[in-house]
Every structure is written in structure tokens, then in C-alpha cells.
Subunit: 349 residues, 4 copies
């Protein structure tokens, strides 16, 4: 259910409607838009009585949302969600493309700084690096943990790059929320609903990767889990699904990009590194992702991929990243987008 | 790496080898067999030096395990793992088939008792029921929680049935470990490695369901996560995978049963309810599962499926469960198995 | 559209209704049942006028068939289709299980006779062997062609076994129809509609294998292509579909068996050889297939599989075939079936 | 096996090597390149003796081709294959992008001409339209047949557009070869090896669509079937594969484009119409296809898609086609390509 407020509704009226909803035992989600504010109503207590709500002052209309996902739906919020990063010119969603680049894992300070320096120079605004790694084998390198987060915090200080890194459980979630700028929830945890809810109680952006066999509806429902707890800063990310095809590690399902953009207001990035698993396919698929209308790219870059502790074969070289940025910049105008180069951090934040 | 002890090795010798391994910074996993004890060595510190180990007293030979999964592998433990339940004649693995039956969710005491009574009467030894439900939608019924566990504890008291129920996060894991007999990890959490490790530190059997797009190797690697922490009581469960086929909710991949039995010593059950999603396919697929050599069946039974809060369309009626038991009993001898009927609990435990 | 005739309708009345239908530009398919005859109406000219048909003498009622497949549907013919082989006790469909066994390819007379002798001795009634092979590579062994058909004709003479072999195009279809008892259409040709229609104009049974990514509806629609041309003797065969799973060559989708039996009157066999691609999985899956309610098994048997020109790794040894027959015989009564042993051919046919 | 001739080898020397190969019972495939001619050797008679060949005059070296596909492999022919159309500036492969546009089915002359006029005006060089339709149902519209071919021949005369249309069996193949410029083999016939061989004996370009569950290797092996018969003018076309994803009709697997370009010299087009099944996804995926490096687009255009006899929901409007052309034109330079607008036919051909 969605309450659409009148254009001239006052903050007090909006507040009063929210309180009324919460008194009924539901949860109210005020979603400000360019013209008017909408208030999403969620909860598993059955239907809200519509008549009463329509009679509250400032209310324009009450709409039933028929989709399973509500807060994530474009029916509820027509404008694209744009996630800003205070004190910087960086954003995810909207006209500007967002580029997240870095190694699969943070291995050593030297490795991380070397890569960060090069992706910053090429114009990335976001740095990715795994500190907590969800590995298929219990005997594989599991990441540097807190030490990795500290290294990335230093990268933010030195290069201004905003940090995206994965949380895999309660403990790492608390640490990632403290040290990073965007909390990544990986494909294997896309339906770890307990983790999603916990991330929903934080007030940091969450980058949610599509599960290996998730349908579009399941993907948006997982976003809904985060949003239903009050955190509306969700970034989706397509990273390939599992099929019979064996020429790539996964099958990058780019057709989900226009579908998501039609159905949801949330930004969607594409990860061509996990999506293909092959260095020589990363640039073609990054270009393709931008051409479909994706809001940006998340890509693995390593200066010595042959020595990488994880995902070496799918990491591109810094020089290839430079090429990728140039190519994306050329394609951007075709889809009414722009590629900002570099991040500008306000002196005093 | 695997240390095979001589048949006549003493407990002290086994202990000494384990201590030696741990001093090297690895983890030792003594795995007693019918003839001799083997000691699995795990850890992500690289290779152990073989020569030293071979010279310890009581050691017959040291074998490199080439598979990615080690403790779960039949190379390491040749005999089938049989999981017993103290004070009862119930077991999972080995000659006797295990039948786990009950509703998708515990809804009310009356519902749970009604179903439990009927599955107990038909000869089930294990009762399943969800108290913590991983639901695709945040707005769907999420289970009764602790209240559901209490109802199942009463079912154990009344009917003797051992309880299998799902844990979905740290909090529910602690509760399930306290109240139930078998901890279920669901398909969506098959690669929630943090939860797997935590379950590995408990000393209760863990029933691990195959993820919707998990390969056989990934499935065994997730079992390995639990075992690498010292909990060797792992039960696998096939419950269907996601494919293009639309005549069933999932595609039940029964060919994994002979493959698992070839590669691993762990027991494997089959869940034809989630595997098909259709009541009229449950019995045919339950029969088929037993015919492939599965160690048992996990099945949803509901006396009023049309009123079920979840999974009604795939729940069979109690009368169908009786038929299923009769059919399984007839097929069992073809695969050198036996279906025990009912659970016997020792008076004083 | 389906015209149901009264129980006491005369052959002349049935004939008159058929003629009326054909005059309207449609095709009439009289389908005799135990109680009454039904007449299927097909054609792509739009809807038939119902009123007129209902007024014809002998007509009980006229029913709209809403499924896409009509002649293949159980709505149109309730009783199981049983395909008999004149002058023998062999049949496919109904209470008796049908076992089709033999090598992937006919390689030499000696090889074919050696295998045929052993499968006949173990009680098979049907012999399979490829003379025309659809191979992925143009450079692989393509089969002996007519020579292979001649060898199989001799096997029929010597052992009584009825012959099942694949046709891959117009030329081979004409030859197979002349020399064999059942025309096989392979998975790769399941949607070779031109070949299906041509097979539909013949009056020999057609064994149609499911395509590697065919849905149930597509599978039945391909059967419908054959039936729409007047050949109602169609045998379906599940042989595995393509998924991400890599522990077997294909994923044998046994849950299609109860689904087909619910929706169609046509018999369905299961091929566990192509379905798994591994000798050690063939027997478990053959047992499972019978347990689901399949009408029989199609299996590759080779006395020297390590020397086979094709599909050696999935061919079972003759001794395993004997075991398979014994196991199937034991499971048969659970699903109200019977395994006839051996074929009896009338002296004078 | 591949015989590489010296750069200065004479036509007589090439001829002599070919004759020598054919005398050995193999087939010789002379493949002229920019620098030198290579001669592919195929046949299923086992290995050719290498020594003898190396001693023939004009031979530089003899190379073993380890891939299953040989003539289709870039190992055998390094330069991109470019297929020209005599008397016109149209081509497929190489620097110029090829755009094939038109309705799913030819329905009436008026429909076909209306669409042809508009796609020609927007700059297409190729017209597609089905005359022989492989339909899932025997009761669906099967195409106009020869009448459809005649209409398309008139379109060629009026607008210069070269004609691409599907052949589904021997009869339609003969007609399509006579009336059209490019013979299309559809996804369902990708492994109709008999049809492939027959198309391989013709000397018209063949557009081969990827099967719904074909691996890259199977796809190239089907091209190899055509080429092994001497027809080297093969155009590949990705059109989506079948997966669990339900937000699009098929899953367009764009990552096959860079993989094909790495492994084969054959041109590859992308069909975003069948690949997505949704009008609103066609343009995004067409842009993406060009961005991955595809050699062109095959797209369904209809001026009245709501009245189309087949595939209406995935056909774009002529105005969208104009937009698509403009967008492709802008992306082309990023991948070192050019979009020629319109076809120029020499006055006297």
C-alpha cells in the first residue's frame, strides 16, 4: 500500500500520516520525490484499511501496490534513486556513471596502494577490495579481515576513493559499516535474509549482488528486505548467473539491466569480472553493460594478476582499465550518461 | 593429507600424532574406522612435511588427498558415516532408511501435534517443522521462532520423534542447537560459510541442503566447512536445482545420489517436496529416491494443506504418507536397505 | 475440439462425423476408447462451429480442448496408449514394462550379435542400435547406414527382438521405416518439424526423445506434430536435459514422468545411459525411472565398452544388464507393473 | 591437419597439394589468406602422414589442429572472414556492420513492402522475413512458403535489399537457395546435421543460429559441418539460450561474441529480438551487442506488431529501428567499426 501526499503537504502532515500507520502496527516509509512525498506501508499483518488513510489531511490518494516488492518498485518511487557521498562529487545512480575498481582481495598494503593509485589516476571514484572473502573451500585464503579494512581506509585518505567491501556475517558487517563507504552483500548471501535485515538497520549504502540462480523478482525481494528495515540506499549488481554455457565462468545476463530499470528505481551496476571469469572478455562486456543502460561498472583490476591470491584470471591490468574508461566515456552519451573522472573531496568535511 | 594409523595403533599413539600435527599449526581430525583410524590434516598453511609424520610410531602411511574436499571424501573414510541418536534406535546412514516428515512451518500447537501423531503412527522417526523460515518476501510469515521450538520439544516428549529444524542465523542456531536433535541449514544458506563454521563448532548433527545452483563439489565443500571445525555429523540433502524446466518447481537431480555415495561417506537424503513443488509428484519421486540408493526421505506432510501458511501445494496428506512408507518399504530390499517403523526410546536416558 | 460419440454409436455414424469434419476443411482423428470413440479435430483454420456437430447422429457431446497439445492429451483419450507388435507378446505402454537394450552404434555383425544374444537371454524384447548417427563432429564415425539396418534385421530373425533405431533425415527415415519396428527420432531432431510430419505419415511406432532443453509442453507439441498427421503410435523418452550440473553428462529429469502420465496417454520410457553418461549411475537411475512410473527403459549395453566407437563410458556390461532386469522386476509390483521376460513370436506371421 | 603454403607458392603447387590430399582419401580445403594460402585437411579416416606432405613443393609447414573444429578455427585462418554480395557494397564480417531487419513472417505483400521500405530508408542492407516457419505447434501459421519467397524477391528488386530467410528441410532449402541471398538455419535445426551438410554443398552464404542449449564448441562444430562440405561462407548468430531466468524469453549470451571472435574467423551477428522476446529490451541489447564487438544485428521490425501473426511482442516499430541505427552508428567507432547506410547495387549485374 502506498500513500501519495499532495504536492503542498507539510512536513507535519507527512509526520502525522506516518504516526497513524505505525499506530496500526505497520511500518511507514516516507519516500520524498521531486514533486511529492509518497509513504510506503509495509508489514505482514494483512491489508491496511484504505478509507481512513484517505481522509487524513495532506493525503492525495492511497494506491494498492500489486507487485511483491514494494519499496523497490518504480510504482512507489518514479524517480531514479541517486546515492550521494557526502563531501564528494561521487554518486551512484542518475546521469553520472559510477566505476568501482580494485583487486579481488586486499593482499598487502603495497599491492593495494599500487592498484589504488592507478585506478584513481584513471578516474575511478570507488575502490573495491575484499577483506572478508567467502571462499568455496575452508582451506583457501579467507582475506586479511580488519587489517584489510585498515588498508582501505588509508586508501580513502590518500586517494579520496570511496571504499566498497563485502560483509559476510554479523561481525564483518559491523566492521565494514564502520570502516567502509558501501557495504557489499555478495551473491552467495543474496538470500541470507538475516544479514539483509541487519544491513537494513544501518544507514550506509548497500551494494547487493545477484545470486547465481536468482530470478529478477527474488533479486528485488532481497533489496526489499534491506529497504523494509528503513535503509533505502540499495545498489543492485548483476554478476552473471549459472547456466550450461562453459565458455565463460558465469553467463552475464545483461538483459536484466533494462528490466530492472523498468521495474525499479534502484541503481544497477554490472560486474563483468565475475560475470565472465576471463580477462579477455571483461572489456567487451563492460562496454556492453554501459550500452544497455547500466549505472556503472564494478571491475577487478590487479597490477600482477598472475600473482593474485584470488581471481587472477579475471582481473584486468591497469592499462586495460585505462582503455575501459576511455571506451565507456565514448559510449556514455549514447545512453544519455556521463563519466566523471576522479573524485573531488571537499577540503573540510 | 591423511595419516593412516596401523590397525594395532594405540590411543596414545593416535593422540601423539594429533598433537604433532597441531604443533605444526594444522588441525588434526581423528576419524575412527572399522579396521583402523585415519587422521585428516587440514589448514590453509600449505603442505605438511610428509617424512616426519611417517616416522611417528603407529603410523602406517601418509596419503595426499587430491580432492578439494578432504574430510568429506571417501578417500579419507571408506565406511559409510552412520549418525546415531543416543537412547533411541534411530539413525541416519547405513542400512536403515531415515524418514523425516512434518509440516513446512509450525503454525499452531494443534496443527503440529495432529501431523506429528499421524507421521509417528505411520512409522517416521524424525519430525521436521520450520520455526525460523527463510522467506523470499520480508512480508511473508517468518515462523513462530522459539515458540515453534517449544512445540517441537513437546512433540519429542509425546511421540519420541527426533526433531529436525532449520537455523538461519547465529541467534536461531543457538536456539535450534539447544532445542532440536538435528540442525538444518537450508539451500539458501548452503554457502553462508560463517553459519557453516559456527555449526561446525557444535556437536549436533547438521542436515545440509544443496543450494539451488550448487555443483556436487561445492556441496561437498560446504560439508567440509562444517567438518573442518570438528563436527563430522553431516547429513546431505538433495532438494532440487533450478533449471529451465517449468513442469516442476525445481528439478530434482537424483543422479547426485549415486555420485555422492561414490565420492563421500556422508549420508544423503532426498526432499521430494521442495524437489517437485507438486503434491502429485511427491510419491513417485520419493520412491525413485530410495531406488537410487538414497539414505532416506525428507518430506512435507500436512493434514490441511489448503490452509497451510507455506508450501501447501507440495505437502502430502497423512494418508499419502502412509502409502509412501509402504511403497518405500517394498523398494528398500532391492537396494539392500530396511525401513524401520517407529522410534524406540530407552526408558532412562 | 473433440467430438465424443455415444457408447452405442455405429461405425457408420463415426464415419459420417469424420466426413463432415473433413468437409469443413479440418482433419478428423478417430480415437477408439474402451467405452466410446472420440474424434479429435485439428487444423489451423480457426474454430469449428460447435452447434452443427452436436446435432449429428451418434454424437454425445463436443468439448473444447484448451491445451496446446490435443491428440497427445489425456483430455482427449483417457486410457493409456498401448502399442502392440503384431505376432508377438511385446508391447509398449500399459501394465507391461518395455526394455529396449543394445549398443549405441552397430559396429560389426559380430559385435551386434554378441550383444543381442546376451540382452535377449536376459529378457529384453527390444534391441536398439544406431545405424545413422547424429554426431557433433562431421569427422566422427557416422554409423554403418543400410549395412547396420541389415545386421539388425538379422538380429530380429535370429532372436525375435523387435528393432528400434534412429532416423535422422528423409533418406534414413525411409530406410528405417522399411527395416525396423520402431523409428527413433533423437533429441537433436525433436523440433525438426519436417521430419516429425514425415514420420507422422508413416504407420510405424515412433519413439521421440526429449530435446536437451525442451519443456514438457514443447515435448508434447512435437508428439502432436506426429499425431496430427495420423500416426498415433508415439512413444516418449526422457534422456536428460542440459543444466549447470557437471557430475553427470546431462541431468535426468525424472519428475517429467509423473507429469507426462498426468497430462498425456502416451507411454514414456527413460534412457539412463544418455541421462547420466556414466556407467556407474545407469542402474540406480534405471531403478529410479521404474519407481517413478515410467513405462520402460532404453539402455545402452556393450560387451566391450572400452572399444566402443561411441558412448563407451555410459554403456553397461551384459552382466550389469542382468542385474538391472532383476532389480526392475522387483520394483515393478510397487507401481502395479510387470516385467515380461523375453519375446514370443508367433510361428506364422 | 593444416598445410601452410609458402607465400610465393604458385596456384599449380596449391593444386598439386590438394590433389595429393584427395588421393589419400581425405578432403582438401584451400583457404586463401592475405599472405599465404592454407589448406585444411578433413575426413574421418584417421591421421594423415605428415612427412610426405612436408616434402611437396611449395609447402611451408604442416600443422596439427588440436581443436575439434578445424576449418572454423582461427588457428587455420587468421583473418576475419568477410562475405561479400556481388554487385553491391554489402558485406558481412570485417569493418562494416551488417544489419538484417524485417518481420518475423512474411504475411502479405502489403505488410512486407511497408516494412521493407522503412528499413531500407533507415539504412538496412539486408531484409529478413520467414516464408517457412518452424512453429512449436502444428496448428500455428506455418508461413506462406514459395509465395513468401516471391514477395521477398520483389523486395530485392524494388529496394536492393539482400534477402535472408530460413530453410527448414530439403524442399525449402532448395527453394531458399534459389530465391534468397543468405540461407538461414534456425536454432532448432542447429544440429540437424543432414540439413547442415546439404547446405554445405551449396555455394550461398549460410546464417547459422545458435541452438537453445548449444555450447560454443557445438555451435562451431555445426559450422564445421557446413564448411567440411566446401561452403566456407558461414555467418554465426547468437539468439539467446535457455536458462532459469524468466524476465526475458531467452537469456542473450553476449559473452559468446568475444569468445567466438577469439576462436573463429567467422562473422557473428546477434539477434536481440529472439534473445529477449520483449520490444523494450531490443534496443538496449542491440547497442550492447555492437559494444561487445559483434559483426552486426538481426532484428525483427513490424509496422503493426499487435497484428503480427508471430513474434509481435518482440518486434520493434520502424521508428525504433531508426533510433537503433543512430545509436549503433555512434557506438561503432568505439569498436573500430563503421555502419554503412543503405545498399548500393551496381547498375549492371
Amino acid at each position: 500500500m502506498l500513500v501519495v501526499m499532495k504536492a503542498q503537504a507539510t512536513p507535519e502532515q507527512i509526520q502525522a500520516v506516518c504516526e497513524h500507520i505505525e499506530q496500526l502496527g505497520f511500518r511507514a516509509h516516507p519516500l520524498p520525490g521531486a514533486q511529492r512525498t509518497a509513504i510506503g506501508i509495509t508489514g505482514n499483518k494483512g491489508e491496511v484499511d484504505r478509507g481512513n488513510l484517505e481522509s487524513l489531511s495532506g493525503v492525495a490518494e492511497v494506491i494498492r501496490v500489486s507487485k511483491a516488492y514494494k519499496l523497490a518498485s518504480r510504482d512507489v518511487k518514479e524517480e531514479d534513486t541517486i546515492i550521494g557521498f557526502a563531501g564528494t562529487n561521487a554518486s551512484i545512480g542518475g546521469r553520472n556513471l559510477a566505476i568501482v575498481a580494485g583487486p579481488c582481495s586486499i593482499e598487502t598494503p603495497a599491492q593495494a596502494f599500487a592498484i589504488a593509485e592507478q585506478v584513481a589516476a584513471a578516474g575511478a571514484q570507488f575502490f573495491r577490495g575484499g577483506a572478508f572473502k567467502p571462499r568455496t573451500s575452508p582451506y583457501a585464503f579467507q582475506g586479511l579481515g580488519l587489517e584489510g579494512l585498515r588498508i582501505m581506509a588509508e586508501i580513502r585518505d590518500r586517494f579520496g576513493l570511496r571504499i566498497v567491501t563485502e560483509a559476510i556475517d554479523n561481525e564483518s558487517l559491523a566492521l565494514v559499516a564502520e570502516w567502509a563507504d558501501v557495504i557489499q552483500i555478495g551473491a552467495r548471501n543474496m538470500q541470507n535474509f538475516s544479514l539483509l535485515k541487519r544491513a537494513g538497520r544501518l544507514r550506509k549504502p548497500v551494494l547487493l549482488k545477484r545470486g547465481l540462480s536468482a530470478t529478477l523478482e527474488e533479486f528485488l525481494m532481497s533489496a526489499e528486505y534491506i529497504m523494509s528495515e528503513g535503509n533505502y540506499q540499495v545498489i543492485l549488481c548483476e554478476r552473471g548467473v549459472r547456466t550450461f554455457a562453459d565458455h565463460s565462468r558465469n553467463t552475464l545476463d545483461l538483459s536484466i539491466v533494462p528490466a530492472i530499470r523498468r521495474l525499479s528505481h534502484l541503481p544497477i551496476l554490472v560486474d563483468p569480472s565475475h560475470g565472465t571469469g576471463r580477462r579477455d572478455s571483461v572489456l567487451p562486456m563492460a562496454r556492453a553493460a554501459i550500452a544497455t543502460g547500466a549505472d556503472g561498472i564494478m571491475v577487478e583490476v590487479h597490477h600482477q594478476p598472475e600473482k593474485a591470491l584470488s581471481d587472477g584470471p579475471q582481473s584486468i591490468y591497469p592499462a586495460q582499465f585505462v582503455t575501459m574508461m576511455d571506451e565507456i566515456e565514448q559510449i556514455a552519451p549514447v545512453v544519455a550518461r556521463h563519466l566523471p573522472r576522479g573524485i573531488h573531496v571537499a577540503a573540510e568535511v
